[in-house]
Homo-oligomer: 312 residues x 4
């Protein structure tokens, strides 16, 4: 008789997996439907590349993430109005972005800051996505909102401040959409992979990890983009990796260099804040690029990707 | 005509407050029911001691927090069984603790770690509280669980990993119970006060801030207990302050010294993990004290408090 | 035939030691003069309490460090004039300090800041020490200055910025005076002990470790006083431990609480900045105490020490 | 009559400068030989690009640093033998390196680690430099050794652990050789520029700043390469910037990605550890590249530089 806490059946990446704890009785399980038996003592088992050597790729609507082609998601920090989002969506698409980003539910340090348009904002994003043909990614903050995300959103973002909100991770795993999982600003690479493990364990394997800067003593940038941690993670997991150069920069002037560095280090995706009029944005006004500056950056990224044998 | 985004009426600490943004039209509001007009440009307005000079104190059932008497909350990291909790509750009460702590919903870094007994655990805690007459404090992790907390819990804890889970902060403000708000492991003192501001802005002023260690490069302890940050916070707010010496210690041997240091630095409350058999605990087995060691610690705390002109 | 890199003879704490690398041929050395054979794989061998269980104590002139009596060293950040130092020396002695501190060679972040009086400053300190009967401690910054320290100084301080200046550590070991070794602001506890190891390996065992705050993201204090690291160190070494509450505080108002917390956590010594007129000090004017405030603090420290079964 | 502490004459970059404190009497100084009057309230005045808009470049023997051409310095962590250094020197030159690096005086955390060959090591490096025609850069640790550096070395390196060893900075400014100044592992970008200010103030303007990783909580890499801080520094100073990808990597496998990221972010120089047989190196054996791997990296760097409009 086997304890169910020593093994678990799950279907991931189209395969029937049996997850067994090493040295447990469950190692004896024999079942002809099992295609892969995953056994490891790592704290992130399913996210580890020990059992799955090939890099994971998946589609967000028509856009494939995790291939040789670098995917750029761009858009405003916060959804402010339909006009704003549609105008940015068209601009970033023209410049080469293939996913539209924008915040509807906004995690703000102060209760006095703009808290986002909520469901209304998600619908605006959806409209802009449909007008441009771009899939949309936006952040979820509350387990109660999962129905909204099921209905309207193409890719669910878990933000840095909820990176260890385990209730939310479990809920998101059940939505059944691709997930962009940001690293918490004080999370080690290992903890980041363990957060991803919650998603994979919950049955959702279409996860991309997103480095967005960690908290350090240095204050000339808003956060410290941990390129080394991103590279280390890539060596530990089969999941693709994204970099967000906007939040660590904190200042528009630094975004280009951090984006280029991320691509050179091997990022599979970039998440960049672009606003039609950054100076009057309701949040993160210092770090959002203008559409013109974003276009210049895209051209630089394309040249760089090509030198690295990749495309955008 | 006044924009509602430039002012807010609320009742806090039994007073009718008018919160106005400095330099806004709302400064002209005249209303005879208003007892205090709060105006400040700080990012934490209601939590600031600029408008409320007297230290805040409040009762958790019979136990008053924020007075000259230091309050000690003790109990197991996780609720494992009724027998375990009741036995610890009796022991810590005997040694002088006046609140019972214990985790029912557990935030665990790995999905493979014990996730807690959930609502069942809360009920066990409630039973142990009733048997000993101790009020209980336990952590909430999901906005969906607020009914359980309304029904059974005397004090709601927000954990370090949810310290900037703003949806949860808003939900907890509506429960109407005293709150123990842990500082996030990468949050500045100012961000910690802004998290408290979410609670006060939501109408709940019975909040105690809890320092539990921040993330630094040092690894000889699990986290770095930021005594200086705790003292700095005390100078910025009217809210009482708690210290959790168990989590930063990570090792039983360090808990006594960190607890004593916290008291010497002015903590109003301590939160200490005690387990009948720490070595076989389902979580944090390294850092939980035995009931015997806790009793020794309580005696040392009493002597120290007395030398500082306080009591326990 | 034995390689001299696998063993070393040295005399420490009045004993003839043989230091041998575990699993080396040198383990076979037999010599009747050897009183202790030190064998360990720790990176800090001589500083470890694995071979020397009893706590180390030593005298700085008449003042003994490392006993049940807590030693307080106080004085100005920088030596500015004889009048200033003598006046402070008398005041701190009256309040109960038993060592006089003061900076003559000053490590300043900017070349435009006051760089200290150098040898002239050391002589002033010596004069003030003689007038009051207090031994003096001051910082060395350059291997070239060791003669000055041999001649005038009772205790040599190695500052945080030189905590891994290994040339200086080797030179100081040869001066033959007690050493106060500050922890570098980015050094782990283990690296701090390894820095001490340079001194012990060089033949100087009269070393006290001084915690003065580490660099973290938190900016409400100048540095983060790592009380936990201090306690962890105490469990790993036989050397006594000092705390400097002035530098992490950065602000006068926080110094008392940090000093009291350090004593409660087990510090054997405190190093506190006191200036007759802090507001006009040439350095660290924000964090130096007035003689009056220092006296109040000393009384609080005495009460606390007594409650802990120690004295001052 | 003017106080000499409110102004200073110095010759830098072939110009006669008058440095005056804003709002001081010295602003009235009139002297026909003065070509530039530098007035600013920044803490790093001479290093700031407020007065010198054009990027600084300088020659290390035949190799020019700070131009459109990226300079690569490579060689072993420590000089172990003439054979070792000459063989590596030839290999790195062949692959495209234009400066030879190698440690003779070694700052080692433990006194039991290999401490370097000292002056003997410098001479070996000099020999290898002459055989290959490569200029040499090596680290100085002690003010007493400046004569050795004057005599044999082409470029003087100040290491991370001595980044705020102000006595050493002053001494090095007087040697009159180009300087590679590493950032201390806990130094802010501003403190790094202030350390450079010591060199410029001492009359030596041929300084390149080297980012080599800062201390953070993350342990999957040895240090956190602060690409953002490097980019921020570049916006604040006229001095060129170098990146050391070897030390933050800690592991050979990560060096390529960090080197490429540094180039993409705008580094003017790279400092890379290469050893003929890394696995048997006396220090940093985990992070040194083989000559073969270095050659592959150089080819990738060349392709990347070309895409960025630069050369190697």
């Amino acid at each position: 008789q086997l304890s169910s806490s020593s093994y678990k059946f799950l279907n991931l990446y189209g395969k029937n997996l049996l997850l067994v704890w090493p040295d447990s009785e469950a190692e004896k399980i024999v079942d002809e439907d099992i295609e892969v038996a995953v056994k490891t003592k790592k704290s992130y088992i399913l996210a580890s590349n020990e059992w799955k050597k090939d890099p994971t790729s998946f589609k967000v609507k028509g856009t494939e993430i995790g291939t040789n082609k670098i995917v750029v998601a761009a858009g405003p920090c916060a959804v402010e109005s339909e006009e704003q989002v549609v105008s940015v969506a068209k601009a970033v698409k023209r410049a080469g972005a293939s996913i539209l980003r924008g915040g509807a539910y906004k995690p703000r340090t102060s209760p006095y800051s703009f808290q986002g348009l909520g469901e209304e904002g998600v619908k605006i994003l959806k409209t802009a996505g449909e007008e441009t043909g771009l899939p949309i990614v936006t952040e979820i903050m509350d387990t109660k909102d999962s129905e909204v995300f099921k209905k309207y959103v193409d890719m669910v973002q878990i933000g840095a401040r909820n990176a260890q909100n385990f209730s939310l991770l479990k809920e998101v795993a059940s939505i059944g959409k691709p997930v962009l999982l940001k690293r918490g600003m004080a999370n080690t690479v290992e903890e980041w992979l363990q957060a991803a493990e919650y998603l994979l364990y919950g049955g959702d394997g279409n996860v991309i990890l997103c480095e967005r800067g960690i908290r350090t003593f240095e204050k000339s940038t808003r956060f410290t983009l941990d390129i080394g941690g991103m590279v280390a993670a890539k060596m530990m997991t089969h999941l693709p990796i994204c970099a967000d150069p906007s939040h660590p920069a904190g200042k528009r002037e630094l975004v280009h260099s951090l984006a280029l560095a991320s691509v050179a280090a091997g990022a599979d995706m970039l998440l960049i804040e672009v606003h039609p009029h950054p100076e009057s944005a309701l949040s993160d006004s210092e770090q959002q690029l203008t559409p013109e500056s974003f276009e210049v950056l895209m051209n630089r990224i394309k040249a760089l990707a090509s030198a690295l044998g990749r495309s955008v």
